[in-house]
Subunit: 159 residues, 3 copies
Amino acid sequence: RSGEMAKLTQLIDNDVFRAYATYTAIVLLKMMLMSLITAYFRLTRKAFANPEDTVSLGKGESAKKYLRTDADVERVRRGHLNDLENIVPFFGIGLLYALSGPELSTALLHFRIFAGARILHTFAYLIPLPQPSRGLSWAAGYAVTISMAYKVLKTALYL
Amino acid sequence: RSGEMAKLTQLIDNDVFRAYATYTAIVLLKMMLMSLITAYFRLTRKAFANPEDTVSLGKGESAKKYLRTDADVERVRRGHLNDLENIVPFFGIGLLYALSGPELSTALLHFRIFAGARILHTFAYLIPLPQPSRGLSWAAGYAVTISMAYKVLKTALYL
Amino acid sequence: RSGEMAKLTQLIDNDVFRAYATYTAIVLLKMMLMSLITAYFRLTRKAFANPEDTVSLGKGESAKKYLRTDADVERVRRGHLNDLENIVPFFGIGLLYALSGPELSTALLHFRIFAGARILHTFAYLIPLPQPSRGLSWAAGYAVTISMAYKVLKTALYL
């Protein structure tokens, strides 16, 4: 039987799946980058969450003043959490979508818009760009994920 | 070539995998809904986290007062984070479980309880319902995930 | 056509995929454990985030004093969020990596270091151990994930 979906023979040889793997790796790496940016701001702003992180900065009371929040650190952390909230659904729904037999060109369109939107979202959040830059880039990624979910449910629905 | 990996034949034609895809898409969409609810409360309560989000509400000092936390917004955000903490393990362990060859009826039981529990959890959190509504719905989803993990480790264990 | 389940053929019979399934289940379960530890500290420290959670501790004003943050609770929550930020990329990139045809011994090395690093990270965070314990265990898991992402992009790149 040679169904559309069919024969994910060698998943990684399938073009849609390769595209999914590529863009998912990219957005997950982008999300991981947020950890480094947070660390950078914590070190340069000297703003830490854990007492053990401030030991090298001084003893006793003098180190305590570095246990504080910083606007730049908090901004990166909000961007990181927003990534988790949006990239996790893309990763999950995108996987099911890639297995649901979409056209390659359609799939690429979805993956590229999502990845572009999330990269733009990060710049919009960190620079920051005036609204509605961040709002629109968030919405573009959200809409792509909803569109993929619709295809998944249309193809696979089994309640 | 018929390599080891190979022949993921017809994932999406497999009933257990279709059920997994359906319920995973549902709970991920439910989780995504939390973003919209957060946005709704931020706009109606006028409580924002970023200065650039308050620009349209007034200039200078008059806009600053909208940079604040709000009990309703924070409640939705806690519900959203709780979703991440619980739906990510379901998505991951559920995927491995769906590939571990469970009975369809058993798999459906797991997926349905999880999805029902998380929907109930959201209502319990947002209304809010008196405890132990939220606690019990959380525990039901947690127990389902543990049960699936047990099956995965029993089937696939390779340390 | 023989057996519905069957023929996801042998994903779960593939040694690399079995190893992936095992270590992913382990780290996701470890992440789930953070919920129980948070609950334990909330109950023993009497520090809650929701008014409905404090009802059993007293009426009216006397219950309100339990709506507070606690250093131990917040520490566990930071550890939990750090798990989400790091285990989600491992789960996603690791899945693609497992499907990209790595050597079994290389794959096992990656999975074992990651799982060991994250378990160590949890101990380093909760005890807490002096730095750079937590930093190094975080970095080890991070490096493993980057290494797997490199293999995925080398094998699957399709932009």
